[in-house]
Subunit: 458 residues, 3 copies
């Protein structure tokens, strides 16, 4: 049975119209509000008394590029592990992140850098927009394969706004520290996506079961994503920290934490695997948990040993989560979490927030010296004790979980709007609904569904 | 029928001899002319009164590495979309670019940094050589699959020389601004390649039609190229600009422009696609047009909105070009443009040049302040009005189109020299002519042509 | 026949226990000994009178990230050329390197930066640890496919220790210069691995012959590794050199050398190939020899021409080695060198050491000016003549070859311990022993060995 004419017309128009509408709206808002800041504006920069070497560009742009690589290459390829969903994983990552960068520049700009009725942009706004895109892609991981691009754009529209608000509450109102985003990015993105996935629960999803796994080559593509995320995570956590020792220490802590999560992931994966074999899903994902878990604390005086211990714990929890908790999440809680974001971002994010509580609570003037001003300015100014800062950190986690859960519920209802073109249960994890997939050459009959077949099943 | 002995001998010797000859010639020229500049020479650098932190290396090397990634990873994998031509796409990119870097160091050195009978080299010459290699690879995209490596090396030999001359005329003689190379790189590379492809027109090319498309995996490999080009394009356009606000603003504008071309590409691709499906060719290519279109203007006070608008336009034009103009280009104009470089580099390059005309024409002392000296030095010194600068920019486009077209014609005639080993019409887009392709393992009978088959067809 | 219960239990426990043991040990050593240095410690940095811009982070971190990419992406994917060993190539690279980073931080720390009973860490220790991981991965290349992960971890345990000692003898005791590690990394890693592979010689290895080659796609994955190694090699050699002209010149020399080794590799590969066809093995590997060969000399006043000549020679020797020497190495010397590390790291490493002897011997006060202090401090202080320095360089090569050979022998005996789970001769180059390999979807019957088949053969 061919798609009904109405459905075909909807499919043809929904994504284009939404893209054009969103692009038109952000363009107008850019025209009205967005201006170069004093480091990117020719007149303002040259009007100041600067050396070119002082331009923030030289301190943050290399880190920005690493973050940018993580968002587009890392997340995109990591999600390409599905055998027939590589075009969508990489392509929709591309689309969602491109939109999120624009929209987040506006949202974050209104909240963080709105001066004299204008948003001022430069390399810091680029980094922050990429961070927000990262959160959107984490949520994408939870619903991967079960949503269409128009649905995903609407999800991003909502999530970016809530991300900005949550981040504003934590960083500005509560004075919480969270440079690498254990809370604002990982916890937020994961629980937003998980709750949303709960609302979109599909009891008949086993109809697409045969496409839900990987094949040999798709696992290698996914490793491209894993490795680029792993190597650049030190830049991710350090990109927005204070200059000098701050960036340096953050990168170093993250580097150690990741080595430990890799070792614990290999250990646990073999231990719980069939016949002691390693599972690619664990290696691709849980090995990265060391980056997530120090997102809050890597900026602090965590110590190299602390980084190793945190990473080790995160890799362990994450691997065990993939093995034992993901099945329960679906069967008991009706949350279908395609990429296991609960294991990679959810639990390690919460652990990271708690680690931040602990390390903040242990902070002393002795340990930080004059550097206390950079890491905990409110403590340095005597306006907060270490214990108070720790309590604020904990409250920040609570706020994040609340905003993410409420937001995910609202998002799920939004995405269920009947006119949105979601894939049928039997067509999940399948590129051919949204992409012209090349015919394999003659002798390779085992290619993806042929077009007729697809239409019949739809 | 096996290849004739003469043909086999020619094949064996042609590429090696040409490589050795070219390498020998550039080595001799390096020995005679190329010297370290004052930032790379131990005695000169330490003779000056510098802080090590002032060394240009720290301001440009991270951007250089991004450009280097684009040239070798970006272009190489982007062209690996063909099902049986991955070795050649990536391998010949590697060969051509490696030669172009050496040869361009000499050509650009003679024209730009020849002092006291020596060429002086450092990170800026590395960036400029990579830019020139980029132009050669754009042209390679137009003739991909239809030329042998010896032909391609000769093409590079000619194109690098003409690239250097064109660039010298524009930047030095005409005082045209073109940091990211909308004209000097994209327009030049595209029209050089297109005219060359016209001269090499093959009326019987449909004999290789079955190899001209992609397969599922080759499209994923191509996306590696696309994404690395996309993420690093801000570094490409900003690598050679003035330090400080110049680099910073250029990167920012390019970043915005690319997000908009991505959104318009997705919108248009679905709009014109069969059943509203997205086409990987568009996503792989047209989404990048936002980087091309701001190659000239991103250094200027384009404004963030201007960047979005330009990127949106470029993605639209490029996608429509792939859909509607590429077929006409072959049927009416007899230009067989394998990668659609006309859509990605040609039209967006020309648009980018025109955008540069516009933005230069609108430049005011107010908008640039003391920064005018960096962007438009001739205007700052009162030697040119904004309108005059705009006219020079337009004239630069005209010069580029002329040099590229004449050069492409000459190049095409050169590559038709009968002793050069071009693939037969039935063997285009096929690695096995130039590479030992591994036998697939037994059960995978559908692998590339087996050797006997190939010889029979040749 | 299913694996015996004892063997299955051993397999299940060996890797996890070793991982946990090693991680536990390094964590304890970290807790006791490793501390932030004055650039990563909040109190120490802010106690000093620094500008944040002076922090070493800004001078070395971008290069570090390039090196990090080479180690994890470059080596990992380069070794993924085998048709059924991609998971292991990339996965074990990941595991080995992660462990080596921790362990090497300790070993190098004790030898190089042990002050006041503590090891002090920062970006330089990160770079040095990555360098050591690179040497381990070179050795891994020699035994690829013939060793299990527990064996490899033990190899790394030994090799990292010996690497640190050899490096300490050369750089600190002998005053040898070797920034990019022609000796300490490439020669050491290659001969350690080759001797170890000799000890592990398997006369029955042809039982796995059918898995020893590549398939079309695996060669493309390997090219990801090649190209990332190639583009970032200038950062590798320059990462640890003196700031300013030192880093700048080293990067420039390496860049030229690599272009020349690429041209000579293409020339020689076609010249010696069947029917003049290029061989992917050469392109993937020998083209990189230009980076190895200037590992010692690129920091010196090698001249751009010298870099080209060295690279050309290295590419030639390496390609001829793959064609003519690798078969002899197995048949005559009983060394089974899976990746041909003798051709890429061994011979070019030795050549690089000799080039260092030559260029050091030719050093004059005139050529280096006041920069002599940075490159050859002992010569600048009048404590050594150029000839003496050259002799020390030569002696450093001798020491390296000795330590590597003795170490490789010891390592080989260690890895032969009977309780270590090595793959049987018929199961080499096969992921399924150590990994849960996804079942290909139904129509793709040609996937890797099915589990029953594997058990029967084991």
């Amino acid at each position: 049975m061919a798609p009904t004419p109405r459905r075909a017309a909807r499919r043809r128009l929904q994504l284009p119209l939404l893209c054009l509408l969103l692009q038109g709206a952000t363009a107008i808002l850019f025209a009205v509000f967005v201006r170069y800041n004093h480091e990117t504006d020719a007149a303002l920069w040259h009007g100041g008394n600067h050396s070119n070497a002082d331009n923030e560009f030289y301190f943050r742009y290399p880190s920005f590029q690493d973050v940018h690589t993580m968002v587009f290459v890392g997340f995109g390829f990591l999600m390409a592990f599905l055998q027939r969903y590589g075009f969508s994983s990489i392509g929709f990552t591309f689309l969602l992140a491109a939109f999120a960068l624009q929209w987040s520049t506006l949202v974050q700009g209104f909240l963080h850098s709105f001066h004299g009725s204008h948003i001022h942009v430069g390399v810091e706004s680029m980094i922050n927009a990429d961070f927000c895109a990262g959160a959107v892609l984490i949520s994408f991981g939870a619903v991967l394969g079960k949503t269409g691009p128009a649905q995903l754009l609407l999800m991003a529209l909502l999530e970016v706004a809530l991300f900005g608000i949550n981040e504003f509450v934590l960083l500005t109102l509560l004075g919480v520290k969270d440079a690498g985003g254990s809370m604002t990015i990982h916890t937020f993105g994961a629980y937003f996506g998980l709750v949303l996935s709960r609302v979109l629960y599909r009891p008949q999803l086993e109809k697409s079961k045969h496409r839900q796994g990987s094949v040999y080559h798709s696992d290698l593509f996914a490793m491209i994503g894993t490795i680029f995320l792993w190597i650049f995570w030190p830049s991710f956590n350090s990109a927005p920290t204070t200059l000098g020792d701050g960036q340096h220490r953050t990168a170093l802590n993250t580097y150690y934490s990741l080595t430990a999560s890799t070792l614990s992931t290999f250990a646990l994966s073999a231990l719980v695997g069939k016949d002691g074999r390693l599972d690619m899903v664990h290696i691709q994902n849980a090995a990265l948990a060391g980056g997530v878990v120090v997102g809050t604390a890597s900026e602090m005086m965590l110590t190299p040993f602390g980084a190793l211990a945190a990473g080790f714990l995160a890799g362990t929890v994450s691997t065990l989560g993939y093995k034992f908790f993901t099945p329960v999440l679906e069967s008991k809680f009706k949350v279908q979490d395609t990429c296991g974001v609960h294991n990679l971002h959810g639990m390690p994010g919460v652990l990271g927030a708690l680690l931040g509580v602990l390390v903040a609570g242990l902070a002393t003037h002795d340990a930080y010296g004059d550097g206390l001003q950079s890491v905990f300015p409110l403590m340095a100014e005597g306006r907060r004790s270490a214990t108070a800062q720790a309590m604020y950190q904990l409250f920040g986690l609570f706020v994040t979980l609340t905003v993410a859960s409420v937001g995910g519920s609202v998002g799920g209802c939004l995405l269920k709007l009947p006119f949105l073109d979601a894939p049928p249960d039997s067509q999940c994890y399948e590129d051919q609904i949204y992409w012209e997939v090349p015919g394999e050459h003659e002798d390779e009959a085992q290619g993806p569904l042929r077009a007729e077949e697809l239409d019949t099943q739809a």
